[in-house]
Subunit: 403 residues, 2 copies
């Protein structure tokens, strides 16, 4: 089991803070938006006399309400398709344990959420990467790239949509093509939709919105980002495939039930008006626009404009972003401030890729975000390991693709 | 992944309830005692503005307070030995994933908590059973029985103390002998201590109270039973072995953090006065005494008197307790009441064992418990599959051993 890629720089950040520096945490996707007070209040006011186990798949009342949330987004989901999990994390683990046997393979577009590697190890399965490129704004690679790596052991393709770490949002056409590929090769399409509510340029299409999703699609979901409630640890595995559901339920029974207090909060959150998302989305969109504009204006930086989530994946003109990240914490400060970023090598499985890329999470208020980006701009000018920018062809291609 | 042994009879219980019967649930260990109101209040009053991720090992404030709980019981536990988990369930899974490689073996005394089988499958490891016997009150089998099954792949012995499903509490001498065995063969001693606070006849000895526990002992703990807070999903993995701790921590990072609301409740519960346990223990002890006295008075029933937990494992004079359990729900009622029990075959790995045994959980108030036991007594007289009692030698041996 490898060290979490998000934590490698943590000791340096701690040391910098002990020295009295302000360290802007652009490294993890912990939203700073307030957890909906109405949902918190409902949990507070619930009858908590005996805090007992719930049904292994979650309380029926929450599952029925959550089904209406999906139905409002056009997904034909009923409560019996929903298994409440301990965060999206557990849903990913259950999906891998259920759809794959030990030794089987799952194909994932890289760069991908580094923690998938840990889940794959825990489930005893192998991740086979298909590389997406910054020149294409991290769009879906050609299907031929997927077909080339399908073997007898391949059981599933896992997508993250909108993507952590790239922020890329798949189009309906891309989703349809990948579902067709799954059907042709009898694979499951595992779709991690943690950031579903954070799409800024076009309406979101879920894998469960596709025609013919019934047998092949397993959606992984969570309230962590949607309602800024990471600590509640409430997620869901959603599938219309009864065999997959029943197999996953046996793993769910193993740990008896999902967190009860979090479920109370999650259930109340389904009653929030649609305008709730308008406000948080507008805030994140403004942050994205600020982040992308600032990064694109920095000499040598290449930053596609992502359509969703809280992240940008950018190329920096430095030799090694892990070294640069350490240097930011150990040797740099501007007005006693610096920032922590995620080196992108942790998001690639293919050795050597992502060494000049970073993921930045825009989960700070705009004042702090602007200050952090000023630190980054000045640091890039001062960094001894600065390299030449990418060839003009590549750097130019990006704005055109993402305008 | 097998169907949970606790759930096999669930559809029959549901059908019985739909017919209007009262079904006393003696099948699962869901305490009915009130969750401590002071702990619930503290959680309600906490600052829940942004419900963020905690540290992967749990909040430092809770870990520091939990360390004092262990210290009060004479265990040399510091906060850095404690990893907060999502219920005891996750601690068991992490312990198996950490201390064993796929294909390795863990020895467990049977009958054992049936869900260990599911965790072993999820971790890719093999359970090797050593059988304990009702004639001995389910005491620790001779060490020679363990030595006989130790192989090159054996990495650990897992005990549950007090035991679910037998209620047996290990003596200090038994624990010392099993730790010596672990040391001699370089095995981990995994000790599931979920029921630590429920010991009725003698002070409890934890595996962490033993001299020389540092390198070998990994304790699995939970607040589920201790504070009647099963739904909070807060447990802990406790070990002084730094390598084990760090390896487990990588699995903990995978799922980011344990449930935050539950941790707030758990932290407040550590402030409860010692008398809190006196009250709940006295209640459970009275229920145990009632249950054992009633069972021992039923012709043909053999019931050792357990020293702890909420369970008795009893021999019934019936051909097959799974059949009998179904018959109780489908074909029997007394004043429109019946009961649900756990057939003990789900607690044995060796095929054929436990077919005449049941586990009964005494988690109902004494009025309901007495009514349930009356149903059982009358049902045994009426059941068509009634068998001869055990040989007198065996039936007689039990009270002598457990007086």
């Amino acid at each position: 089991m490898p060290v979490s890629p998000f934590r490698k720089l943590a000791p340096y950040a701690e040391a910098a803070r002990l020295q009295g520096k302000v360290v802007y945490p652009l490294n993890i996707g912990q939203p700073d938006i307030e957890t909906p007070p109405a949902a918190v209040e409902a949990m507070r006011n619930a009858d908590l006399r005996v805090l007992g186990y719930s049904h292994g798949a979650g309380t029926e009342s929450y599952r029925r309400k959550l089904a209406t949330y999906y139905q409002r987004a056009g997904m034909p989901v009923e409560f019996e398709h929903i298994m409440v999990t301990t965060g999206g994390s557990e849903a990913i683990l259950f999906a891998l344990l259920t759809c794959l046997n030990p030794g089987d393979e799952v194909i994932i577009q890289e760069p991908f959420y580094g923690t998938y590697t840990a889940f794959a190890i825990a489930a005893g399965v192998t991740i086979v990467p298909v590389t997406a490129h910054i020149e294409d704004g991290f769009a879906l690679p050609p299907l031929a790239d997927f077909e080339r790596v399908i073997t007898e052991r391949t059981r599933a393709i896992l997508i993250c949509n909108p993507s952590n770490p790239t922020g890329y949002v798949y189009s309906r056409a891309e989703l349809e093509s990948i579902l067709s590929l799954c059907k042709a090769h009898n694979l499951y399409l595992l779709s991690d939709e943690a950031y579903r509510e954070f799409c800024y340029d076009a309406p979101y299409v879920s894998a469960l919105n596709l025609t013919g999703a019934e047998e092949h699609v397993v959606v992984v979901d969570t309230i962590s980002k949607r309602y800024s409630a990471c600590g509640a640890r409430v997620g869901a595995l959603v599938t219309m495939n009864k065999d997959v559901y029943m197999a996953a339920f046996r793993f769910a029974q193993m740990r008896v039930s999902p967190p009860g207090l979090g479920m109370l909060l999650a259930e109340a959150a389904t009653d929030l008006p649609d305008s709730y998302f308008d406000d948080s989305k507008a805030e994140y969109q403004a942050r994205r626009d600020l982040t992308v504009a600032r990064l694109q204006a920095m000499p040598g930086v290449v930053c596609p404009r992502p359509g969703g989530a809280f992240y940008v994946l950018a190329h920096l003109p430095v030799d090694d972003t892990e070294e640069f990240g350490r240097w930011l914490l150990e040797s740099f400060s501007h007005e006693n401030q610096t920032l922590m970023l995620s080196p992108a090598n942790g998001f690639y499985q293919t050795p050597g890729l992502g060494q000049q890329e970073v993921r930045l999470a825009y989960v700070l208020n705009r004042t702090d975000l602007a200050a952090a980006l000023t630190c980054l701009e000045l640091a890039l000018l001062a960094y001894p390991g600065r390299t030449a920018p990418l060839p003009a062809m590549v750097a130019d291609a990006v704005p055109a693709l993402t305008a």
